[in-house]
Amino acid sequence: MKIQDDNSKIKYYTASQWQLIWWRFRKHRLSIVGITILSIFLIFALFPEFFAPYGPTQRNGENVFCPPSKVVFKNEDGKFSPVPHVYGFKRERNKETLKMEYVVDETNMQPLKFFVKGEKYKLFGILPGSIHIYGVEKGFVHLWGTDNMARDVFSRTIFATRSSLSIGVLGLFIAFVIGLVIGGISGYFGGWVDNFIQRLTEFIRSIPTYPLWMGVAAAMPKEWSPKTVYFMMTIILGFIGWTTLARRIRSQIISIREADFIIAAKLCGASDMRIIFKHMIPTFISYIIVDLTISFPNMILSETSLSFLGLGLRPPVTSWGVLLKAAQNIDTIMSSPWMLIPSIFVILAVLSFSFVGDGLRDAADPYSEKS
C-alpha cells in the first residue's frame, strides 16, 4: 500500500487489526481467486435447490448413464442465436455390441431457459419455491450427464457441496472448541497439567487414523439413519482433528504469555479474564483463523476419502465422497467418464482453501516489518 499522502496515512494509522489484515490479504491475487471460488461454493451450499435444476434423488425416466447434453448457440433453423439450445438424446441399440447407446437427436432441440419453474422445493425447509436457475421446458437437460439411477450429476454435485462443506465446518468447529479449551488450559496453566495434556495429545496423534475410522464405522449400527451417520461423522472428525489445533493454541499462548504488553497489562491491575479476552485472544486469533483455514481441506478430504471407502456417509445423503464412490470402478469410468466431474469440485475447494490460507498466513501479523 502506498502511504504517501496525508489522507491515506491517517487511514493507515487508525486502521484496526482486521483492516490491516484485509489490506495485506487483498494483495494476494491467488487468495482473492480462492476466496471468490469459496464464496460461490458457499452460495451453492446455501441455496442448492435454486442452482440445481433437479432434486438430488430425482430420477429422469430411463435415462441411465446419459452423457452430458450438447449445448449450442443455434436456434432450430441452424442459425446463430444468443440463447443456448440443447439437443435431446435418442436411445439406440448398437448393432455390433448390442449395447444401448445415446445418440444426439438433432431434431429435438430445446432452448435453455433461465429462472424456470421446475420441481417444487422448500428453501431451508421452510421457504417454498419452484424457480431454478436454468432448465428446459420439455425433456431433460443434463449438463454433466446422469448416473446409474438416471439422476442429474450436476444437481447432485451442487447438493453434495452442502453436505461436504457443512461436515467440514461442523467438524472443524468441534475440533476448534476442544482445541481451544484443551490447548488454552495447557498453555495458560503450564506445569504438570501441560505435561499431562501434551502426552495425551501425543497419544491420540499416534493412533493410525484409517484403521481407527474403519473400526468406528464398523461399530456404527446399520439401522442408523443417514442423518445420524452424518452427525456422527462430524463428531468423529472433530474429535480426531483437535490435536493439531490444541498444540497451536498452546504454543501461541505460551509465546505471548511472557510478552511485555501482557506483563504491562498485569501491572495495570487487569484481571485474568481481561488479560485473556482483551489482550491474549485478539493477539492470536488471526493465527488461529489461518490454522483453521489450512485444516479445512483436511476435513473435506477426510470426509471424501471415508465416504469413498464406504465408511462414511451413505446414500441417499450426497456428498462429494459419495458421488466419487459411484465412479469407483473402471467400467463406469470407461463408459461414462462424466461421473468423475464432481472431483473437480473437491480439487477446487481444497486448492482454494490452501490459497486463502496462504494469503491469510502472510496477512495474519500485520504489524511485522516486512510488507
Binding site: L20, I263, A264
Partner: protein
C-alpha cells in the same frame, strides 16, 4: 511519614531448571540473590549491571511481575500507608498497583498493537473501575498532553508511531494513575540518540511535576549518571556497591565498579578509555564461583576472596561488598 518509599530486604529469586521427561527440578539459577536496599521518596535510584546481573529481574520482582522466592518488599506510600507488598491478596494488590508502575525497554513489544493509544493509556484506569468513561477520557487527554502526545493521535494504533513516540505512550500509560513509584527498565536504551534526550528530559519533568520516585535500570553508565541521585551496581544477582552518584564516580570502592567505569566509551577525544581488562566473562549463573562471585575476574583477589563471600559493609552512605574495600585505592573516574 517514612523517609523511604521502598524498603527491600533479603530479596531472592531462583528460577528452577526442569530436566528430563518428568520435569524434575534438579538445579536452579539464582537470578537475584539476597538483595537489600532502600529508595528514598522523590529520588532517582540508578541500577546498573551487565547482562546476567539480575537487574531486570530485580525490577520485576519489586512490582511482582515475577513472584520472588523469598524476602520482603515494603512500600510506604504518602497516605501513611505501609504495605507489605509480597503478602497482599489479589484485591489489595490491584489497589496497590495504581501506585507503582513500570516503563518498559522495548517500545514495540510493550504496547498491545491491537489497541488504540487511548485504550492503552486508559488500561489501568479501566481495570480499576473507579472512573466513568468521561472521567477516563479527560484523564487520558490530560496525561497525553503532559507527555507531549498529539491529542488527535489518541485514535491511532501503535503502528503509526516511531520508537520515541511509542515510549511517550508507555510513559503516559504508567503515569495515568498518578503513581508514586515507577520502575524504568532500560527505558531509553532502545531509542535513537537524538530521541533519547527528549525521553530522559520527560522523565525528569514528570518527576518534578508529580513527585515520582524512580528506579532507573540501565546498562549505560553515562545515562544513569545523568539521571540518578544514587546508584546501585549489581553483579551476578548481588549488589556489589551502593553510593551517591558523586561518591561513586569520585571514589569507587569495588573493583567491578572500577572496571565498569573504565570501559565507558565517552564521546570525548581527551578521555580515551583505558579499559581494565577483566579476565574471562561473567560466570554461568548455574555454576557460581565460591567466595566472592567476582574473584575469578578480579585483579585484586586474594585467598580470602576465593573462599569467603564478602558481606555488605557501610562506609558512611557508601556501601560495598568487598573484602579489600578500605585498603584498595581504586581509580577515580571523575572529579566533580
Amino acid at each position: 511519614m517514612e523517609d523511604n518509599i521502598l524498603v527491600v530486604k533479603n530479596l531472592s529469586k531462583e528460577f528452577p531448571i526442569y530436566k528430563g521427561f518428568l520435569r524434575k527440578s534438579t538445579m536452579s539459577v539464582k537470578a537475584v540473590n539476597n538483595v537489600s536496599f532502600e529508595i528514598k521518596r522523590g529520588e532517582t535510584l540508578g541500577l546498573v549491571g551487565e547482562s546476567g546481573s539480575g537487574k531486570t529481574t530485580l525490577g520485576r520482582l519489586i512490582l511482582r511481575a515475577i513472584e520472588p522466592t523469598s524476602g520482603e518488599v515494603i512500600y510506604n506510600f504518602s497516605d501513611e500507608n505501609q504495605v507489605d507488598f509480597l503478602k497482599l491478596n489479589k484485591k489489595q494488590l490491584k489497589k496497590t498497583r495504581t501506585k507503582i508502575q513500570m516503563v518498559f525497554q522495548d517500545p514495540y513489544s510493550s504496547l498491545n498493537p491491537r489497541m488504540t493509544v487511548r485504550d492503552i493509556i486508559a488500561e489501568t484506569l479501566v481495570a480499576n473501575k473507579t472512573m466513568s468513561r468521561n472521567e477516563i477520557d479527560e484523564r487520558v487527554r490530560e496525561i497525553a498532553d503532559l507527555c507531549k502526545l498529539n491529542l488527535e493521535h489518541l485514535r491511532r494504533f501503535p503502528h503509526a508511531f516511531s520508537g520515541g513516540q511509542r515510549q511517550r505512550i508507555g510513559i503516559a500509560r504508567a503515569l495515568a494513575v498518578n503513581p508514586e513509584f515507577v520502575v524504568c527498565d532500560e527505558s531509553v536504551s532502545a531509542l535513537d540518540v537524538s530521541v533519547q534526550a527528549e525521553i530522559i528530559n520527560l522523565f525528569k519533568e514528570m518527576q518534578a511535576i508529580k513527585d515520582i520516585t524512580y528506579l532507573f535500570i540501565a546498562h549505560d553508565l553515562s545515562i544513569v549518571e545523568h539521571i540518578s541521585d544514587r546508584i546501585i551496581v549489581m553483579y551476578l544477582g548481588q549488589i556489589v556497591e551502593e553510593a551517591d552518584k558523586r561518591t561513586l564516580f569520585e571514589n569507587p570502592m569495588h573493583p567491578y565498579t572500577e572496571a565498569l567505569m573504565s570501559a565507558i566509551p565517552e564521546p570525548d577525544l581527551l578521555r580515551k578509555m583505558a579499559p581494565i581488562f577483566l579476565e574471562g566473562e561473567i560466570p554461568n549463573p548455574m555454576n557460581l564461583p565460591t567466595g566472592c562471585y567476582f574473584h575469578p575476574r578480579c585483579h585484586y583477589a586474594t585467598e580470602k576472596c576465593r573462599k569467603e563471600m564478602p558481606c555488605m559493609r557501610c562506609f558512611g552512605n557508601h556501601k560495598v561488598a568487598c573484602h579489600r574495600a578500605e585498603e584498595l585505592h581504586l581509580k577515580q573516574y571523575i572529579k566533580y
